[in-house]
Symmetry: C2
DNA sequence: CTGTTAGCGCTTTCAT
DNA sequence: ATGAAAGCGCTAACAG
């Protein structure tokens, strides 16, 4: 009933060739006469012409489309901001995102990539929430950027938080407040560490060490960063050792557990114990006093991923680090020995 | 360097016409000889042929694509599960999702819809987090389903949580536990109520009323459902009135605030006061004792939205309600008068 | 400066 | 049972 308006219709109405119409509507009309231009625009307007992007894509061998494949999108709050950042950057560049989720299944990842390539995406973004991506073996016909995952040895582009800078900021903050004895909440055996986690921990350790601050270790009961673990382990850290004056929680869930643990132990934050954390998860809004934490720059990372994906030719492969920022709130205070 | 393998290549290698190859690879080969079939499959396999979905879409005037436009995707945990449900349903049907975010900007919504139509999506899903969608004025060339928003007077399809059923479950639960005097935390002046909210509240009210349970009203200080409000208002409800034995929080954030409020008032959950809530937000995992809450069925809704979108011809327009489910946990107990 | 022609890769009449 | 040819809507060579 509503036959699609095509470029041919516009051209006909403007009494020019499709070529002219195409040129003009795409702003490459330097040469066309003003009168022709006007007629074309008028016709397009009158007919309410909209280009068929599939046809254009077919012809140009470019779809103005990016495939975003994520391991998890719903079950964590990480994916949302990454997608948002990617979406914004894509929109600014007149690209649209195909979004898919693999649910951590490698075979599904392969399948998703195939399908997206069949759709002629111009680039792929492989986002992970775990920090570790498994890359497709084969050579891809389009650029791939790994988002929030280390790239491994290949020639891939990857975008990661600058964990080293983040760790340093957290540690420096506590050092500058005069703390001399701290606990890092969430450390488990090194074999469990993903690359980003390792960087975070090592940066913390090295910064504290340089400042001569003592780090008290309490090994995790389970290598899981949830609030239960935070509760259990913080309790032990407070119970079993001569008191630390500050703790660095390796993520906000651990910190939330620690809050509860300290409350039950009768310890006041930040008066009795300071706490600084990582991630700046939404959940921190429930904590009182408000948690000082080093934010994971997910939105910026998502944005960066599409920027890189669309400029892969002009950009060195390897890791691209996005700065982390300390969110100063109210869970830390000066330690007066 | 790697020239795309086309159907023509496959046909050539199998020494058949493109027509035959197409027919066979699409399983409409009833007529072709077994030998030809074998040759085609072999050739496709050998060349690792993959169809160009843009070309197919152009020809078939069907893209096997759905446009998902959401007002908010990152800043709330609602969108994630809806997208996941939609993603899963789409995948099962060999469709791919374009995802966009409008950030609540109506003009951006129009723009997003235009772009998706230019991309020849077969259907549109308009998801909201607020519960209220503003629909495009004009007649769309493809089916549109409103996700988590009431559809208004138009001929649209919409998917909503069954708030009435959810409200009833929450109220029935408290009634069955013997509570006779409850507070509904989060009610503000009716002019602030969105359609879903109104249904939730009215269902609560009517169920309590039928059971002869007294509902204590405390008007909200601000019409905002966050934990601060929950804290403030719960405090007042406990302070200003003869004690209620149970509260229904209209969402989990309010409940979280109430938890803190009750704790400070020296009230134990569920011993002194029972609390049941709505949403089953991730944040509830931080609450102790664990919160009994009526889950919003977002994933099922997302799934349903694509099912409807792809079968719009065979389905009555109007609202489609997805059941809500009470998650029984540990924040309620029997009231022994 | 402008228009004609061809072709992106696919599916689909329509002949054979 | 099989293939030739047309055409989806667009843009890029190439002529004029």
């Amino acid at each position: 009933m509503s036959p699609r308006i095509t470029l041919a219709d516009v051209a006909e109405r403007a009494r020019v060739s499709p070529t002219a119409a195409s040129l003009i509507l795409n702003g490459r009309e330097a040469r066309l006469s003003a009168d022709v231009r006007r007629r074309v625009f008028e016709a397009a307007e009158a007919l309410n012409y909209r280009p068929n992007l599939m046809a254009r894509g077919l012809r140009m061998e470019k779809s103005a489309t990016i495939g975003f494949v994520s391991d998890r999108i719903a079950s964590t709050r990480y994916a949302g901001p990454m997608i948002r950042g990617a979406l914004r950057a894509a929109r600014e560049r007149d690209h649209t995102l195909f979004v898919t989720e693999t649910e951590g299944d490698l075979q599904e990842q392969e399948r998703a990539i195939e399908v997206l390539l069949d759709r002629q995406v111009d680039a792929l973004i492989l986002a992970t929430v775990t920090g570790e991506a498994v890359l497709p073996e084969r050579q891809l016909p389009v650029p791939l950027v790994v988002l929030n995952g280390s790239a491994g040895p290949g020639e891939y582009l990857s975008v990661l938080p600058d964990e080293e800078g983040g760790g340093q900021q957290a540690a420096d903050h506590l050092v500058s407040l005069g703390h001399r004895r701290v606990h890092i909440l969430g450390t488990s055996e090194p074999q469990y560490w993903t690359v980003p986690v390792r960087r975070r921990i090592e940066s913390l350790l090295s910064t504290f060490s340089k400042a001569g601050v003592e780090v008290v270790k309490v090994s995790l009961e389970r290598p899981v960063w949830d609030s239960e673990t935070g509760f259990d382990t913080a309790t032990r850290a407070v119970t079993l050792h001569s008191p630390v004056t500050a703790v660095v929680a390796l993520n906000d869930s651990l910190a939330a557990g620690a809050y509860e643990s300290f409350r039950q132990a009768g310890l006041t934050i930040p008066h009795d114990v300071s706490i600084v954390s990582f991630d700046d998860d939404d959940i921190v809004s429930f904590l009182r006093p408000q948690l000082t934490t080093v934010a994971l720059p997910f939105e910026a990372m998502g944005r960066r991923a599409v920027e890189l994906a669309l400029n892969s030719h002009a950009v060195p492969s390897g890791e691209h680090l996005e700065p982390m920022h300390l969110q100063l709130r109210h869970s830390t205070s000066r330690y007066d020995s």
